[in-house]
């Protein structure tokens, strides 16, 4: 009977997570339908198993011969219930700032002059020849800005005003700037990769680690340590609630 209890509790937990929208913090938006589907399947399994146990009282079905012993069933059921207890007690919704830093994507080091030379040699139109509007949409994501830089559109981006949203991470020893980051998730948070840009904060703007903000500012390439790295010089930083789809 333990398997019926474990499957029912798990099904209810998955259904609740889907109902409350908690699932979207854990999996990519493409896959949010998976946990409620599993909840339906598991609930059906639990009901069928309960009916089978009631119907087979005193009989030995061949399925029972293959089934684990009652003690093993209890053991398996308890293991399945452990993460539910952990989720209820901890209730995580996002990575800690340290967890984000562990997931930073390495940035591609590109030589713009070499890129242009290669494009010229291969007879391709240089990336920089594209009009500024074609490089970025009106409200780009962090990912699109980074991609545009890596595609060689540095000149078109310099001086452009952008509005982007993301989470904040404070840089050690740099009080005038912070890191604006987003997580790129393909399936679930286990494959999350952080993409980030430096933001020079306007005077008086208060920043909390992990806080969601909308930043408006001008893109410049004035980082002395890495001139290929774009930096947003913010004129406005607004705190916003967690977006419905927190991942890129």
């Amino acid at each position: 009977m333990w398997e019926v209890v474990a499957l029912t509790v798990l099904a209810l937990f998955l259904a609740c997570a889907a109902w409350t929208g908690r699932v979207r913090f854990f999996v990519a938006s493409l896959y949010v339908w998976l946990p409620p589907t599993a909840a339906v399947l598991l609930f059906a399994m639990a009901v069928a198993r309960a009916l089978q146990l009631r119907g087979n009282r005193g009989e030995s079905c061949c399925d029972e011969a293959h089934a684990p012993a009652p003690k093993a069933q209890l053991f398996y059921a308890l293991i399945i219930l452990i993460p539910i207890v952990a989720a209820v007690s901890v209730d995580p919704r996002q990575f800690s700032p340290d967890g984000m830093r562990k997931r930073r994507a390495a940035s591609i080091v590109r030589d713009a002059a070499l890129d242009r030379a290669m494009n010229w040699a291969l007879g391709m139109r240089t990336a920089g020849a594209r009009p500024a509007e074609a490089v970025l949409p009106p409200e780009p994501t962090l990912y699109e800005i980074i991609n545009a830089v890596e595609a060689g559109h540095k000149e078109n981006l310099t001086g452009r005003f952008v509005t982007v949203i993301g989470q904040c991470s404070l840089r050690d020893g740099a009080s005038d700037r912070f890191e604006l980051y987003r997580m790129v998730v393909t399936c679930c948070v286990a494959d999350a990769t952080a993409v980030s840009l430096d933001v020079v904060r306007p005077d008086g703007a208060k920043i909390e680690p992990g806080q969601w903000v909308r930043v408006g500012g001008v893109i410049k390439f004035d980082d002395s340590a890495n001139p290929q790295q774009p930096v947003i010089h913010a004129t406005i930083v607004t705190m916003i609630p967690t977006p419905h789809n927190p991942y890129l």
Partner: protein, 308 residues
């Protein structure tokens, strides 16, 4: 930043990320397993499965193209199929190949690496996955022994004439069998995903960068990462592509090994295979992937893919 540090919130976050993603597929796999148990007799399996062992193993390696399964969902299905008379060697080949030789994974790998290079890398990944799975299947058939790799309760299970009389409806029987399969495999998944989350949430990816310069450390480092991160085979290519410092040979080792062998899968395999068999199969898979990765430094440039 240290290479490893523990944070409870991050650990539970990644643990549930893995479970939300994997539970549905294990439930689906358990359901298919219930269908196999209730609706497929040994006679039917014997009639449709190739009698020639070679053909059976090679066909099993490609079966994922028609019946795609992810690495979590495939475990209960293969367990049940082997009990129904599918040769163990063919079952293992399907188990290892289907998460790679699989249209969804081929497309996701192509998208992750992009353009023509994406198609080439996806093709290489599928080909290497097929070769490794088929070799392991052949070794199990020729050298290890078909029944000696299974846990005794599966090896001894005799489902002959198992078009048996079931008391209830087909749907009830299928679901009830699926419930028992899910309980066992699901518990293994929870345990394995817990270990996986511990490593995945605590490990800093920046710690990998020093490994990139030497072929041996690059390949073994990426193999270790594949085992430790426990990524879904549809998502791992995006993570592999973000390791810019590593050459394609090392990324290929990551892409081929991960869906066949990771911490959560090792724990799940323990519901099907004997511990010695798991060690032997894992060792052989790792050795073959290491061979592909290290020799890749030679044959990939010969194929014109050295710069990728």
């Amino acid at each position: 930043m240290t290479a490893f540090s523990f944070n409870l919130s991050d650990f539970v976050f990644v643990w549930w990320g893995l479970l939300y993603e994997a539970f549905p597929f294990v439930a689906l796999g358990a359901l298919l397993s219930g269908v196999v148990e209730r609706c497929l007799s040994r006679e039917t399996v014997a009639r449709f499965f190739p009698r020639n062992h070679w053909l059976g193993i090679l066909a099993s390696g490609c079966l994922g193209l028609i019946f795609p399964m992810c690495e979590c969902g495939v475990v209960p299905v293969v367990r049940r199929l082997m009990r129904k008379g599918v040769p163990v060697s063919a079952g293992i080949t399907y188990l290892l190949a289907s998460p790679i030789v699989n249209p969804l994974v081929i497309v996701s790998t192509t998208v992750a690496f992009g353009g023509r290079a994406g198609w080439l890398i996806a093709g290489l990944r599928a080909a290497c996955g097929f070769v490794v799975a088929a070799i392991v299947g052949l070794v199990v058939w020729k050298f290890v022994g078909e029944r000696s790799v299974l846990l005794s309760k599966h090896a001894d299970a005799d489902d002959a004439g198992h078009t048996r009389e079931h008391g209830g409806s087909v749907i009830r029987d299928v679901l009830a069998t699926a419930a028992m399969d899910f309980l066992q495999i699901g518990a293994m998944l929870v345990f394995g995903a817990g270990i996986a989350a511990l490593i995945n949430s605590g490990f800093s990816r920046a710690a990998m960068e020093p490994f990139a310069s030497n072929p041996w450390t690059a390949v073994t480092g990426m193999m270790g990462l594949a085992v430790a991160l426990n990524l879904c085979s549809e998502a791992d290519a995006f993570v592999a592509a973000s390791f810019y410092a590593f050459p394609l040979a090392a990324k290929l080792a990551f892409l081929v090994l991960g869906p066949m062998l990771d911490v959560k899968l090792l724990v799940m395999y323990s519901a099907v295979f004997r511990p010695r068999a798991i060690v032997a199969i894992s060792g052989l898979v790792a050795l073959l992937v290491l061979l592909i990765g290290v020799t890749g430094y030679v044959w990939l440039p010969m194929m014109g893919m050295g710069g990728l």
